[in-house]
Subunit: 549 residues, 2 copies
């Protein structure tokens, strides 16, 4: 068995080492265009920022180890240029010498990854505009960062905001330009408002809903002209707009490629040519929740796909279950995590959904150091099946997202979340974990126990006929309220119920939704047409701060 | 509807507030023997130790709020003494006045909890021997701790080791006496070895496999005579041996009570009298994994049971799914967590199992601050169904335990763990999360790809006929090895294979099991009868340090 693997990072490296563990006889050729296979590309922003002090740390599996331990024929700085499917051979170019040769294969695994997108605008190719993909890219950016004072980042996705943190860490005046009205486009806009605030607090100049129209070389730097008319001065620019699947090889070879560019594969990672597999950021995957084809570049799935391709080559029935889009990104001591479908994904796909917001603490409030998180879960309004979750905050966001990811993987409902038994001690959680709380709230909505309305509807004027009932204290009400409305603190509600008109719908709200929930129950049992404002005033503020897309 | 609830902590408080949310009309009487319903009993050790500075923090739901917001008839310092099932009334004693009265009920909910066990030995009732159950107990211990210099803790369960940490934090010379040869009896002995070392490092004098035979009053203190003959001097003693279900009321009323003391209930929390419910630490529950009745006192389940009892009283079909024993305990910046069955529980119940150990880092090794954890999962050797997991370490142990808890809840197999998609960024995890790694290892064992042997078998002499093959570096080998054996570093294995006899079984091992795994694959593909030592030298050392029960 002779296997040629195109691309040595993540999926390619996993396929190679897995193949070796399955066969000592196989000839395994790993062709990597860069100088380093299997390097930690997710660590690059932190290497540039200095948090990862040593470059060697990023070399997870050095070439020597891949060669020695896994007996891989690793060929770095070589590029596969052409696939001859009929002859089952590839044409490879040695990048340093320009020399070209052919190599036959029994099985070919494509793991070419995705390439950073350079916008087709004037100046996008100027020397001081950088993308971040290879370790050499990181070296260049680390170098240029050392002497720079001002940088502009185009794109506020994962790499964009990680670069923002790290350039601020290096002391640079940093501007962040994003076409969308929000950072981190996979998340719903209101959920990332706290991180947008954090970026501003840390000095990042935010240009949301704007885009670069032109880059101009200036003396010793660049000028970035934005669509809004603003002009930003920078020593250099980081282009972090997004990535495109590297599909040239596949397209040229006539393999099936999706409209959005991803190489199409079956559950065993086979392309339309059964002797050619494809894995990682270059492929189209099936979304676990929606069942639709999507393009989601993530490291975990890439590794698993590589393993599955190798398994299948050696006669095993391993199959890929699809991608659910579980992701997390840190931003100083904060972060954002998600799994499954966002609300806007549901809207885009026409999937019926309901949502709830909550703001639990990461651990018991009576133990020091508890911090709040914002959680949003999206679920089927009838069956309660969990469709997705988003968690933003400081501590414990990764844990709750992983638990939600497991729930989605298992096809659980929000009623299941009520019942799950998670680890509790005061340093780690609460007897009623945020996951249980999300279940209580969402399952109560599904059951009709305490109907909710949403800040977006309130802001859109859809609830103008309703009485807004603020059940917080007068002090909280005075400090800022949703709108003119009635303020009856929860503990006075039963005594002052006659102040609330019975002929109008009532929207109760508090700070995070908990007192509003109790008020909703009291009024519902008293016969009112009442809804709770999900997530309370905190969510309302986030929604109000988020601009519509 | 008139509901009387016996006991106002956790399950009782949850039942009361849930009942009110379901009915504004119900008369809800909450009878609490102590002065404080709904206080944070899990926080008491940290209040005594000073980490929780304010006592008020422990009063989660003050009496006033329960009365005002939830319209509960809260009666503190009153004790239900008798149930008259025929008349559907209880006899209540006012503890301060001694006055006795009766109260009728439509539904009675028993949430009496469990009482700390006082050993039947001389001196166990001396004034300076304390148990920790009520807030008054915590007050007394906080008080006595202030002026003390030496303390002895009897029992190294949750409360015992939390008290040890907190007394050390207060500067006390602390001794910990435990009948078992290990701390934290629910865990397998080898898993808690690192925490036993930590306790010793922090100055706690450990007396495992020992027990108090007598307490003697001395001038200003106590003398603790141990079975081993040691005598410990102390200013006071904390009795933390364990708890017994408070079942007197239930027994006197003729309700079904299990042999081990727990009140028996159905899935709606009804006792053998359908008008009497029972919840929390006083009841027997069904183990989710084994299906057997067990006695597991935990806060999360108590809260859920309270909610379910209230639901059922108001005509809802909520039912309890059983307890899976998900638990965690912190110890300084370390901790131990578990879910499902331990190995010894499988042995006790006669359940067939296999196990694997691993020592992954909590997050990507290339990002600063990664710490190792010890993980053990127990699974069905044929189907691969996950039976239980234990995780001990610093960061991220709670997350992995919660993910395993979800997997058990969903009935997942170790093959499912290979495929689950968890949140990865370098600060939070790895592209191949510890959970995926556990799945890879365990599923490979189930499939027969890389059979394992265990340190316990090695120590028991069961593998004496095997060649022990250390595939670490010569430096690692020289620093300490399992036994006399061959040292062939992994990267030299293929070239030096002729040094390994082919007529004997081979046990390969390394530091944590990863290189041993690769060696096992290489040798297996070369036709050897080879096994990997699960968890490698680190697990071996833990197992060797743990004394048999």
């Amino acid at each position: 068995m002779k296997i040629v693997i195109v691309g040595g990072v993540a999926g390619g490296a996993s396929a190679a080492t897995r193949s070796r563990r399955l066969s000592e006889e196989a000839e395994i050729i790993l062709v990597e265009r860069g100088s380093y296979p299997s390097f930690a590309n997710c660590g690059m922003p932190y290497y540039i920022g200095g948090t990862i002090a040593s470059r060697d740390k990023l070399l997870v599996s050095p070439v020597e180890r891949l060669r020695q331990r896994y007996q891989l024929d690793v060929r770095v700085r070589e590029s596969v240029e052409l696939i001859d499917r009929a002859a089952k051979q590839v044409t490879i170019r040695r990048l340093d010498s320009g020399e070209v040769y052919t190599e036959s294969y029994d099985k070919l695994i494509l793991s070419p990854g995705a390439a950073p997108f350079r916008p087709p605008i004037p100046g996008a190719d100027l020397p001081r505009t950088y993308t971040l993909r290879t370790l050499e890219d990181a070296d260049r950016l680390a170098e240029v960062t050392r002497d720079a004072t001002r940088a502009v980042i185009i794109g506020a996705g994962f790499i964009g905001i990680e670069m923002a943190e790290n350039l601020v860490h290096r002391g640079l005046e940093t501007s962040l330009v994003e076409l969308n009205q929000q950072i981190l486009p996979p998340w719903d806009a209101e959920m990332v408002v706290p991180l947008e605030r954090l970026l501003r607090e840390r000095g990042v100049k935010m240009h949301l809903g704007d885009q670069a129209k032109e880059f101009r070389a200036t003396e010793g730097g660049l000028e970035v002209v934005l669509a809004s008319g603003h002009t930003l001065q920078a020593d250099f620019v980081v282009l972090a707009i997004g990535v495109r699947p590297e599909n040239t090889l596949a397209v040229d070879a006539g393999l099936n490629v999706a409209e959005r560019g991803g190489i199409q594969v079956n559950c065993h990672q086979q392309t339309s040519d059964t002797d050619i597999y494809a894995v990682g950021d270059a492929i189209e995957v099936t979304d676990v929740v929606s069942g639709k084809p999507v393009q989601i570049p993530l490291a975990g799935p890439a590794n698993r796909q590589g393993r599955i391709a190798a398994d299948h080559i050696f006669g095993r029935e391993s199959s890929y279950r699809g991608t659910q889009g579980t992701a997390i990104v840190g931003l100083w001591d904060h972060g954002a995590a998600m799994t499954g479908l966002s609300e806007k994904a549901c809207q885009r796909l026409g999937i019926a959904y309901e949502k709830v917001y909550l703001h639990p603490a990461d651990h018991a409030g009576y133990y020091p150091g508890a911090t709040p998180m914002a959680m949003k879960i999206v679920f089927d309004p009838v069956s309660g099946k969990l469709l997705g979750g988003q968690v933003v905050g400081r501590d414990g966001i990764d844990k709750r997202t992983d638990v939600l990811a497991m729930a989605i993987q298992a096809g659980m409902t929000v009623e299941d979340l009520e019942e799950v038994e998670l680890a509790y001690a005061p340093q780690y959680g609460s007897a009623k974990d945020p996951i249980n709380m999300a279940g209580f709230i969402a399952a109560g909505v599904v059951r009709g126990d305490h109907p909710v309305v949403h800040a977006s509807d309130l802001i859109a004027g859809k609830l103008d006929d309703a009485v807004l009932l603020d059940v917080r204290t007068p002090e909280e009400f005075a400090a800022g309220a949703v709108a003119l409305g009635v303020n009856i603190p929860l503990d006075e509600l039963r005594d002052r119920m006659d102040e609330i008109p019975r002929d109008k719908p009532v929207v109760a709200y508090c700070k995070v939704g908990q007192r509003g929930y109790m008020a909703t129950r009291i009024l519902k049992l008293a016969g009112y047409d009442v809804h709770n404002l999900s997530g309370g005033y905190i969510t309302y503020e986030q929604v109000a701060a988020a601009k519509p897309a």
